[in-house]
């Protein structure tokens, strides 16, 4: 590219959905249906992007005919489960209730659109639950979900712009009026003017070192999910909650995959002894909940020399084996099955080693029950505000509805007034594309990952966190003026890495403020869990360039 000259394209719309994942597409469909002009800007291809790209199989929902008429009781039961409790930390009870109330409608909609939500003609619930406890997750066949949702969006006249990565929101003093992005293949800047913006950019997958050291794409989710929405939202001045809370998932060691609850087996140590108390033989209804209670146990086994832990499906009935293999395909695990076939691995005979994956920060964009963020005209849904497929689908729908309604009344935005901001960002990307020498995104990303792991990883303390923060800040400064992108693919990775640097900094700042030990937030300098922080969240927003922290009750 010559002289850093990226051409500029302006697009105008009522509603802009950033990210065409589960939440983004659901939002787009709903907003389109309500008559809004809708654009989806998606950095990959909506047919196979995001964490739902190759299917999911567990849909958290409330079906009265299955769970009984008392939704409050069901909700209470759900939050007993350690996974849902952690996943929904930082979500208000009113948002949870609104989601559950909506969820069955969405299940029926999906079923009518051709995403099979019934198994052998019935609502089938399994996994993510203890014996004797309420079953929370509906089994569904998600393999083709992205195709169905994409087609549905197109039917509603939604314009899908694939290969567009949005990297900043544009706002005036009242609220958000658009966003700026790059084309990930062509030398182009895209400016989008919108009356309302919905964020659905998903997870943060590249902040901590992944399962295979030095192999950045060995993540269970996606290489391209880098918390862009959270970072943009923070920079635009909206509130995030809980960036300091870590989560760790469990699955096949090194071949990182989600779907732990789809496995029908028992986690055993190398001598065949179950490592948890919940199951002693494979049971298709109730998988082994041990990793949901304490995923890091598997890592502890390795560290203490107890040795590896195995997912042991031996003794499984033929029927349950077929059941598991069927659902593993819908859960996006077909490549794992192909690999087992090729290697002659038979789960009926061969226990497969499981491991604890890298940390991911739980931090979310704070929303209310209408999916509104703390900035006018800006909405969020999905993993970046409320994790899992059921919540993503349901809240995407709600966000689409709220945004379309708002856009009807909102004044036409004047994007040209943000010209200075647009030019500033054009310069930033132009410089990265024209620099001849310097670190690439990978160098920057790995440098960040190692600081995250060693200074805000499994052990955190004031001295570690303060040192780590200063290292990340120094790195950020250096990267901002030296990083090089040879082409638009690399530029996309560079912009993602800049977002990760912002989010990494927030992890340090918030982790230092949480002066207690809670779950995986392990502070040897504050070893007790502070009862006064029960039910509270740590909110963070940027005011005049500085992070401002506040503890608030999450009701």
């Amino acid at each position: 590219m010559e002289n850093g000259a990226l051409s500029e394209e302006l697009i105008q719309t009522d509603v802009l959905c950033i990210g065409g994942g589960i939440a983004g597409l659901m939002a787009a469909i709903r907003a389109g249906e309500l008559g809004a002009k809708v654009v989806v800007a998606e950095k990959g291809n909506t047919l196979h992007s995001g964490r739902g790209r190759a299917g999911n199989d567990h849909f958290w929902c409330y079906i009265p005919e299955v769970h009984g008429a008392d939704m409050e009781l069901f909700l209470k039961d759900c939050l007993k489960g350690p996974k849902l409790k952690l996943m929904q930390a930082g979500t208000s009870m009113s948002v949870l209730r609104t989601f559950l109330e909506k969820s069955f409608d969405i299940v029926k909609l999906w079923d009518s659109w051709g995403i099979p939500m019934k198994y052998q003609g019935r609502w089938e619930f399994a996994g993510h639950s203890f014996h004797g406890d309420v079953l929370t997750h509906l089994k569904y066949e998600g393999l083709k979900q992205k195709t169905v949702l994409t087609e549905r969006a197109m039917e509603k006249k939604v314009e899908i712009m694939n290969r567009v990565m949005i990297f900043d929101l544009l706002r005036n003093k009242d609220g958000v009026i658009g966003a700026i992005g790059i084309h990930t293949r062509e030398d182009k800047i895209i400016v989008l003017q919108a009356k309302a913006v919905i964020l659905g950019t998903g997870f943060v997958d590249r902040l901590y070192p992944p399962s295979v050291p030095g192999w950045l794409a060995s993540v269970a989710g996606s290489l391209t999910l880098t918390g862009d929405g959270r970072a943009m939202t923070y920079r635009a001045g909206a509130e995030l909650v809980g960036p300091e809370i870590p989560r760790r998932h469990v699955g096949p060691r090194y071949f990182a995959r989600y779907g732990q609850a789809t496995w029908v087996g028992v986690l055993r140590d190398t001598h065949g002894k179950p490592i948890g108390p919940y199951v002693t033989k494979p049971d298709k209804r109730y998988g082994d909940m041990t990793p949901e209670v304490k995923g890091v146990l598997l890592e502890d086994y390795m560290k203490s020399g107890k040795g590896p832990a195995y997912m042991d499906c031996r003794g499984i009935s033929d029927e349950d084996y077929e059941y598991m293999m069927h659902w593993l395909v819908h859960e996006g695990n077909s490549s794992l099955i192909d690999h087992m076939k090729e290697e002659g691995i038979d789960l009926r005979k061969n226990p497969v080693e499981f491991g604890t994956y890298q940390m991911v920060p739980e931090g979310k964009i704070w929303i209310n029950e209408k999916a509104e963020t703390s900035i006018k005209g800006l909405y969020a849904a999905g993993d970046e505000s409320m994790g899992g497929i059921g919540p993503s689908a349901s809240y995407g729908w709600i966000a689409g509805e709220s945004a379309a309604t708002y856009a009807k009344e909102a004044p036409a935005p004047k994007i040209e007034k943000t010209r200075a901001e647009i030019e500033e960002r054009k310069n930033l990307v132009g410089e990265m594309r024209t620099r001849k020498q310097g670190p690439d995104w990978k160098e920057a990303n790995i440098a960040l990952q190692q600081i995250m792991q060693d200074y805000a990883g499994p052990v955190r303390s004031e001295v570690l966190l303060e040192a780590g923060l200063s290292y990340v800040q120094r790195l950020k400064k250096k990267v901002a003026t030296t990083m090089v992108a040879q082409n638009q693919w690399e530029l996309t990775r560079c912009l993602e890495t800049l977002n990760l640097l912002d989010l990494g900094e927030l992890v340090f700042i918030a982790a230092n403020e949480r002066k207690e030990t809670r779950g995986l937030h392990n502070r040897p300098d504050y070893p007790l869990t502070d009862p006064m922080l029960e039910g509270k969240g740590l909110f963070v927003k940027q005011v005049r360039g500085e992070p401002v922290l506040e503890w608030r009750k999450i009701a």
Binding site: K43, G44, N45, L47, H48, S49, G50, R53, A54, R163, T184, R185, V212, W215, L216, A217, S218, V219, G221, S222, L223, T224, P252, R253, Y254, F255, A256, G272, P308, Y310, R314, G332, S334, S335, L336, D338, H339, M340, E343, I345, D346, K349, N350, P351, V352, E353, N487, W489, T492
Partner: protein, 75 residues
Amino acid sequence: MPPIIDPTKCTGCGVCVDVCSEDVFFGSKKGKVPVVTYPEFCVHFNCCAYECPEEGAIKVRIPLPLQLLYKGGDR
């Protein structure tokens, strides 16, 4: 390294290039066998293989460091 394309079966239709969200095939030209520009950024969800219209033209190879660790069937 993943993914692997069999040039005798591939028609260069570009469908895999189109659907790969990691854009592992960045820079590929329609009508030609795709180039695997960023093989180490493949996340192995088989999406290219799902969409490829030619049986057996593309498959995803799992690199050595990611391969499953398992026990023999003996107890």
